[in-house]
């Protein structure tokens, strides 16, 4: 058995809210609550959820940019929450990050050579100027830009090209893991397709594993082999994308899949009433976090927190009654088809 590239167990991240009253204790937000997940090498992993569900906090914790309140995060077998900043810095060459906004994540005053080479300085590689230039040229070529582009400034590039520069910057240290937080959300459809194809090529060519965070389910389905759906800081469903999105078991995943607008399904009424807006979870409440929005919720859902149960083939779901929701969904779909 190969060693997993990321192993997260019982991860919690709490944020203390400012006190609202002198006489009441300050309340706490659980951004992440009991997250367990494993990312296998060369199986890119998608993290899906709505805004405020904690997916970006999770990315920051995996990158060591934020500390968990409790739990462990192992990257390639090393617990990054327990190591010193110096050690973390050394490890950084092996895992890199690509951010959402290609306009905000590149320094406008630096030319591309300096931007792309920055991680090399940061991890303290003592290499000569010539070698550095070669490495930058190589990284730029592998993302489909020209080596001569290194003399340009970010404003000379289009949005898609900028995202390529950001990817080249992540590639230059030859990482085995890249955490990409909404890497294509800011891009146009035709450019998005180019960048998604590029990510897949890099996966095949360099054996990089991506942790891909997105709110776009179809993009995650395309880019990743496995995925987890997060709702209010908890994983509600997890498994291979082929099963997760074709056969969603958790009512929340089902409502997400149903809510995606599709070309050519005109005037379709939502098969299921889309649930009301997300609320932040301010206390470790009892029962299922989704119970308040779930049309299947029963007494047990409000009192007992469901745990992730394996269904089949690595597909697991945190719902007491997934068998029932599944059969009801199946009958609803046949009704729609008729």
């Amino acid at each position: 058995m190969t060693q997993p590239i990321i192993e997260i167990s019982n991860l919690e991240r709490r944020f203390q809210l400012p006190r609202e009253s002198l006489f009441r204790p300050a309340s706490t937000v659980y951004a992440l609550n009991g997250i367990n997940l494993t990312v296998e090498p060369q199986r890119s992993f998608g993290i899906v959820g709505e805004s405020g569900c904690g997916k970006s906090t999770l990315a920051r914790i995996i990158m060591g940019l934020d500390k968990p309140s409790s739990g462990t995060v192992k990257v390639k077998g090393k617990d990054i929450t327990a190591i010193s900043p110096a050690e973390l810095r050394e490890m950084r060459s092996d895992f890199q990050m690509v951010f959402q906004d290609p306009f905000g994540s590149l320094n406008p005053r630096h030319h591309v050579e300096r931007i792309v080479a920055e991680p090399l300085y940061a991890v303290g590689d003592a290499i000569g100027k010539q070698e550095r230039k070669e490495k930058v040229a190589e990284a730029l070529t592998s993302v489909g830009l020209r080596p001569t582009d290194m003399e340009k400034y970010p404003h000379e590039f289009s949005g898609g090209q900028r995202q390529r520069v950001a990817i080249a910057r992540a590639l230059i240290t030859r990482p085995s893991l890249i955490v990409a937080d909404e890497p294509v959300s800011a891009l146009d459809v035709s450019v998005q397709a180019q960048v998604l194809n590029l990510l897949r090529d890099l996966e095949d060519q360099f054996g990089i594993t991506f942790v891909f965070i997105s709110h776009n389910l179809a993009v995650v389905d395309y880019a990743c082999q496995d995925a987890a759906v997060i709702y209010l800081g908890r994983i509600v469903e997890q498994g291979p994308t082929s099963q997760l999105f074709n056969n969603p078991l958790h009512p929340y995943t089902q409502s997400l899949v149903d809510a995606v607008p599709h070309v050519g399904v005109k005037n379709r009424r939502a098969a299921r009433q889309a649930p009301t807006a997300l609320k932040t979870q301010t206390a470790a409440q009892t029962g299922c976090t989704f119970a308040g929005r779930c049309s299947f919720a029963k007494e047990r859902c409000r009192t007992q927190q469901p745990t992730l149960r394996v269904v089949d083939g690595g597909h697991s779901v945190a719902c007491h009654f997934f068998e029932e929701t599944r059969s009801e969904r199946a009958s609803m779909q046949t009704a729609v088809a008729v």
């Binding site: 998604l196 389905d221 050519g264 889309a274």
Partner: protein, 324 residues
């Protein structure tokens, strides 16, 4: 109801005029919806702003925009003020920035009512409650006195819709109404817009880069590329059988559920020509794989491929065949 004919939008430059939108024409009847699709820089938002009479200073529109017999382009700014928000209304992409953060939402919803309908403040307040209730804000009477920051993104967009609806406009322009929202919230807003169209018989123009949103919402659509309309027709026909290579390519570039691991997304090589570049050829020629000598000589005319379905491509028939 709304008739746009040969709309040209130009930016007056120091040496020459830069053309941003070229020769856009469409018609829209009451109770119908039109989608405008295109990537950034295609001129779709400019077209919407022209209908609203909100083009920025140095940018001029020519041609004709006729709303129920009234020629909007010939109106003075003062006259336009009595049309805007009254007969045509708009909702914007960012519900965070398009509401005034220092006024209560009640005041913002009531403003067009006192302004255009001459209602008293008390009457406008009552009407505001009804509107907020209609767009699905729970406990509307109490919510009148809250400020935008106290509402979620979806609720802010509902407030925007309430403001736009306040004077029962004939035409509602929605520029990327759900782009900033989560999928489940997006679903609610789209459902709401659809209900409102069938209830009030207003005409709806939706601008979006999301082909899924357009595909579900509209009767007819325009596909824009580099400031030109490249295809126009009934939405379901365009989606099932695109006649312009750009539309066809764009549809293939969207990831779909259940694509196999070995499948790759089709991409469109190259980039959109810059705004204002004078093209003697077809604007898509540089990125098109069907390009021939004729495409490079002159911009293609609109070819009618079906009832009210036109595409600016001399090979439209062939594109449709391959799309099947």
């Amino acid at each position: 109801m709304l008739q746009v004919k040969n709309l040209n939008i130009t930016l007056a430059g120091a040496t020459r005029d830069i053309s941003i939108v070229k020769d856009v024409s469409f018609e829209l009847d009451a109770g119908r919806s039109l989608g405008v699709v295109g990537e950034s820089g295609s001129g779709k938002s400019m077209t919407a702003l022209a209908v609203m009479g909100l083009l920025p200073g140095a940018i001029r529109a020519s041609g004709s925009i006729n709303l129920a017999g009234q020629e909007l382009l010939s109106l003075s700014e003062q006259e336009m003020c009595s049309v805007r928000g009254n007969k045509v209304a708009m909702i914007f992409q960012e519900p965070m920035t398009s509401l005034n953060p220092v006024q209560t939402i009640g005041r913002q919803v009531a403003e067009p009512l006192t302004l255009h309908k001459g209602m008293t403040r008390a009457a406008a307040r009552q009407e505001a409650i009804r509107l907020l209730d209609r767009v699905g804000i729970p406990d509307a009477a109490r919510r009148l006195d809250v400020y935008p920051h106290q509402l979620s993104g979806g609720q802010r967009q509902r407030v925007m819709i309430a403001i736009a609806l306040s004077c029962s406009p004939k035409v509602l322009v929605a520029d990327e109404p759900t782009t900033a929202l989560d999928v489940t919230v997006q679903r609610q807003i789209l459902d709401l817009l659809r209900e409102l169209v069938s209830e009030t018989r207003m005409a709806l123009i939706i601008i979006s880069h999301d082909l899924g949103v357009i595909g579900e919402m509209v009767d007819e659509m325009l596909v824009m590329y580099g400031g030109n309309v490249v295809e126009r027709g009934q939405a379901d026909k365009i989606f099932s059988q695109p006649a312009h290579p750009y539309t066809s390519r764009l549809l293939e570039a969207i990831p779909r559920f259940g694509m196999s691991r070995s499948e790759r997304l089709k991409t469109i090589p190259g980039t959109m020509p810059e705004i204002g570049s004078e093209m003697k050829s077809c604007i898509f020629a540089g990125r098109c794989d069907l390009v021939c000598a004729e495409c490079l000589q002159a911009p293609p005319p609109f070819v009618s491929v079906d009832d009210a379905h036109v595409a600016a491509c001399i090979k439209a028939g062939r594109v449709m065949e391959t799309a099947q």
